[in-house]
């Protein structure tokens, strides 16, 4: 199978505290996934689940403790950082801190064009920039010479997407791209991702906690919990029929925009994030409604349940271990 990006057993550990009272947290624990060309792959979970750590390592901002990252079959890591800027571009959460408030927005575009020698003349550069801006519903004429504070958050986020498109990337890594954008304008960003995938064949690693937009736009999804991928499959399989107890909890906790379907059950919340990270066995066992004796001592295997990866002891009978390819 064609794989644009392949991440295998990616592990990232952080040490916390002083030399004497050191705690080692595994922020990403043997994370394995791949992204196909022209696919939107979602990495979802609550804050502190390791999704941003995974993105940082893939982008080369942090060095992995272990594991491999293959891009078009070639190994990548912090040493080969250059690849990041070539075929892979990133979009970040807060469009207002992406751009320096004292620089005009178009200077970023010209800088990108120059850095990669994408145009022979100023006229050619403007044509290229204008073409990318039109993809996101803006034009060069209405944005040249303006500063970031002259745009709304939604516009600025679309501008940062256009900026990422200047190098014609094949993969965009988007870390919480809509969480700072108003709900009423969120769909304009998400619809844009759809367009990029369908018309330009761009793949997107969509990192979010917003499962509703992940369902709307995504192809496959991985749910992360405290450093582990606990469930991975197509959005239909995972979100319409979640199997892992944590995926179920996450899915049920999204407030539905339907007053006839209010919550009827109650949830219990985690006391301390750190405790869950250091837990032996399944890290969700402390809050899991279906926890068994084995969950508190043994880490569950990645099982194959009807083609979906599920990391849970509940499915241990009659299911084989998931094949990562």
């Amino acid at each position: 199978m064609d794989k644009l990006l392949e991440v295998t057993d990616l592990t990232k550990r952080y040490a916390q505290g002083s030399v004497l009272a050191r705690i080692v947290l595994t922020a990403a624990d043997h994370v394995t996934f791949y992204i196909k060309p022209a696919e939107i792959f979602t990495l979802a979970g609550e804050s502190g689940c390791g999704k941003t750590t995974t993105a940082k390592v893939v982008l080369g901002f942090e060095e992995a403790t272990s594991g491999t990252i293959l891009h078009n079959g070639k190994p990548q890591g912090r040493k080969e950082k250059v690849w990041v800027t070539e075929g892979v571009q990133a979009i970040f959460q807060d469009p207002f801190s992406t751009f320096n408030p004292l620089r005009t927005v178009d200077s970023y575009f010209h800088e990108t064009v120059q850095n990669y020698r994408l145009a022979g003349s100023k006229k050619e550069a403007i044509e290229r920039i204008d073409q990318k801006l039109r993809l996101v519903g803006l034009s060069y004429a209405e944005f040249a010479g303006k500063y970031p504070n002259e745009f709304s958050g939604g516009q600025l986020q679309r501008i940062s997407i256009a900026r990422a498109l200047v190098t014609d990337p094949k993969l965009i890594i988007a870390d919480e791209p809509v969480s700072m954008v108003d709900a009423s304008l969120r769909m304009s960003i998400v619809n844009l991702f759809k367009k990029l995938r369908d018309d330009l064949g761009v793949s997107i690693l969509y990192i979010t906690h917003d499962l509703a937009t992940a369902y709307y736009v995504g192809d496959r999804i991985a749910i992360m919990f405290r450093g582990n991928i606990v469930e991975m499959g197509t959005v239909e399989q995972v979100l319409m029929n979640p199997r892992h107890p944590y995926s179920k909890l996450l899915r049920d906790s999204i407030p539905q925009a339907d007053p006839t379907r209010r919550w009827t059950t109650t949830v219990s919340l985690a006391e301390l994030e750190q405790e869950e990270y250091l837990r032996r066995g399944c890290r969700f066992a402390g809050r899991c409604p279906d926890a068994m004796e084995i969950c508190r001592g043994v880490v569950p295997a990645d099982l194959d349940v009807d083609g979906v990866l599920v990391k849970c002891h509940l499915y241990a009978d009659g299911h084989s271990v998931h094949d990562p390819s």
């Binding site: 609550e46 969120r186 304009s188 906690h209 319409m240 909890l249 407030p255 925009a257 007053p259 919340l269």
Partner: protein, 340 residues
């Protein structure tokens, strides 16, 4: 049905043509930001009232005005705010002295802010902050009595009992927000105002916080006014919703009606743009971007973005028409000639 019989209910907080403007002096020229522009609201006892709208529509300013907290450059430029004191005495609080207002805060009305990190003093244990907040309201009460009250309430709300002995940074975001809500409800206020209290939280934690808000409301039978741009949250807990656009309430009605038959084109956009599970049909967002409150368009402020715009929309702001008793909407498309 709570929302269906407002006529029998008492208005706990009411505004009449409320105007709260920011008046900024920029190099000699005056700039006026009309953040709350002629808002007349009636909010009843024992209900959860949701206020929805985009960022920059004046939601937070409206809440500050309801809390009667005017800090320059924000000014009360017109209208009045009434609180229902002692169960039957309606008082215009814009005329109260700062001292009288301070007594009402926490006891009659309390405020739950969005960023709970800034509520607590980072170098004091939480119980010291409790002491600070409660001390001025319960003059004769000893520290031990205050802590006893706080501890009892913390237990009732299902929070860990040792939480009062901790410093703010030792709590997770969700726990801190729940302690903030516990503090806001400690003196059993008749009205609690929440400004995006769940926005910075994860979905599971958000659900826990909302759960706690509804428990408190059921127990105390008081009023919660909740501002959030997340329509899913409104659908889950609000009894009635007011939709705010460019400093005005443009539609108001019971939650079920707002979701099943939104009338204002803006409300329709808000509701229809929400993605739903099991439905992959293409959804659009509201076209254009919200207007600047310092430079409002003429007539109805939504007209530059409205797909059904008519000539009159550009000239005149419509008054409310009442499709039925509990539902009101300010749009020229609804209720011909009924705009007075």
């Amino acid at each position: 049905m709570d929302a269906a019989t407002p006529a029998k209910k008492k208005a706990i907080i009411r505004t009449d043509k409320l105007q709260a403007y920011y008046i900024l002096d920029m190099q000699g020229t005056q700039k006026i930001v009309k953040a709350v522009n002629d808002v007349s609201l009636t909010i009843y006892e024992n209900e959860i009232y949701g206020i929805a709208g985009e960022s920059g529509c004046g939601k937070t300013t409206l809440l500050k005005a309801l809390f009667n907290d005017f800090v320059p450059p924000m000014r009360l430029t017109g209208g009045s705010i009434f609180y229902l004191l002692d169960g039957d005495r309606e008082v215009d609080v814009t005329g109260l002295s700062p001292d009288e207002m301070r007594q009402l805060r926490m006891e009659y009305i309390s405020y739950i802010p969005q960023g709970s990190m800034s509520v607590f003093n980072p170098v004091l244990k939480l119980k010291e902050t409790y002491e600070d907040f409660v001390g001025s309201h319960r003059k004769g009460q000893s520290r031990e009595e205050t802590f006893e009250l706080a501890r009892h309430q913390i237990e009732v709300l299902g929070l860990p009992a040792n939480v009062l002995e901790l410093y703010p940074h030792q709590l997770s975001g969700g726990m801190r927000q729940r302690v903030t809500i516990a503090l806001a409800s400690l003196l059993r206020p008749r009205v609690m105002i929440g400004d995006e209290p769940t926005t910075a939280l994860d979905v599971v934690v958000q659900r826990g916080v909302i759960q706690m808000l509804t428990t408190i409301q059921k127990d105390m039978q008081n009023t919660i006014i909740l501002v959030t741009h997340d329509m899913g949250v409104h659908a889950n807990i609000a009894d009635r919703i007011g939709i705010m656009y460019a400093g005005k309430i443009v539609e108001e009605g019971p939650t079920t009606q707002i979701f099943s038959e939104p009338l204002h084109p803006y409300t329709q956009f808000l509701i229809n743009s929400l993605p739903k599970f099991g439905d992959k049909n293409v959804r659009g967002s509201v076209p254009g971007s919200p207007p600047s409150l310092a430079d409002l368009p003429s007539g109805c402020p939504f007209h530059p973005r409205c797909p059904h715009v008519k000539d009159i929309c550009r000239q005149q702001m419509p008054d409310f028409s009442h499709p039925d008793e509990n539902h009101k909407v300010a749009c020229w498309l609804i209720g011909e000639g009924n705009h007075g």
